[in-house]
Symmetry: C2
Subunit: 174 residues, 2 copies
Amino acid sequence: MARNGRPEPRTIGYSDVSLDILGGLLSFYARSMAIALNRDYDQAISEVELAHGHGKVSVLLMTHANPGIRPSVIAHFAQKDRSAMAKLIDQMKRQGLVEQRVDSGERRAHELYLTPRGEELVVQVRTIVQEQSDRFFAVLDRQDRADLLRILMTLYERHVTPLPANVPDRKATT
Amino acid sequence: MARNGRPEPRTIGYSDVSLDILGGLLSFYARSMAIALNRDYDQAISEVELAHGHGKVSVLLMTHANPGIRPSVIAHFAQKDRSAMAKLIDQMKRQGLVEQRVDSGERRAHELYLTPRGEELVVQVRTIVQEQSDRFFAVLDRQDRADLLRILMTLYERHVTPLPANVPDRKATT
DNA sequence: GTGCGATGATGGATGTCATCCACTATGGGG
DNA sequence: CCCCATAGTGGATGACATCCATCATCGCAC
């Protein structure tokens, strides 16, 4: 049984195989980390009704922090297709977590609000998500965690979008 | 048009929205980076017939570097379900890239070999994969790249499996 | 006022992939 | 011989990303 819950090979040793260039490839390790992180995260978040992916958590937290926010803005920060975002929000509406109103000043757009039920869930979700992240990255020392956060924020700003001004430790990298 | 090719919101500003705890959450940034990286990678790798995910590339490179390797060993390092790995290898067999033989000393297991065609593809794939990774992480300075690699390797060893002894810069972290 | 292109949201089609389960042939140990 | 574990395989299912088309709305130019 490997660290990730999958059976490990039991009839042959594998400590001397070569990973070829993968052994020194940032993208291989980055994607591998994401696989492990996703699995761990999905397990943690399945305790509440928000299983699978960051989408619902992003909607919940960002709507909480920004009542009236646009679906398209959330989609933007979460790197989610507009159409997929609409479906996700529809699901959360059916779950009784959010509600939508037409923006009176721009009737093509919607404003998102949490329901009281959604608000209750926020506290839980914050705790679960923070603990999961802390636990996953606890194998790193404090300095490495700080460096990793800084580096990942840089990558986010350069590959996704500039971070809002209110994000702590954000540096103008654009 | 945002950095990732998706339309960005055009009728409202969004530089002052709050990301709530996501703004300081390692797992959010890690997963966001992976989304961006996956997209970039998939674009690069679609130039050759290995689109989508690291699976095929891992099979190709690790079989090249370790002729006769077990599917289960590749699955182990690539964090892939056995059943999914079997389907993937079947696909690559049909593409004429690999072939399988029964391991004579352990007849439950298979040995994987590349075909001449598979071998030809290795050179291309190596170049593409290396360039994609280099390009994606080029936004970081040299020190940050080195730190990121070291940190990600630590995470791999702690969350996935110990790295083989032949991997450069590997440290015993178990 | 009208027309045109852009915008935000929505629905649909499609492909891909992970997960989980069941099964078969094989191997090792009691 | 029996039992349990192992490696590989096939199937079912659910989730999700992507891409496309559509509609209502908006802003701008003529």
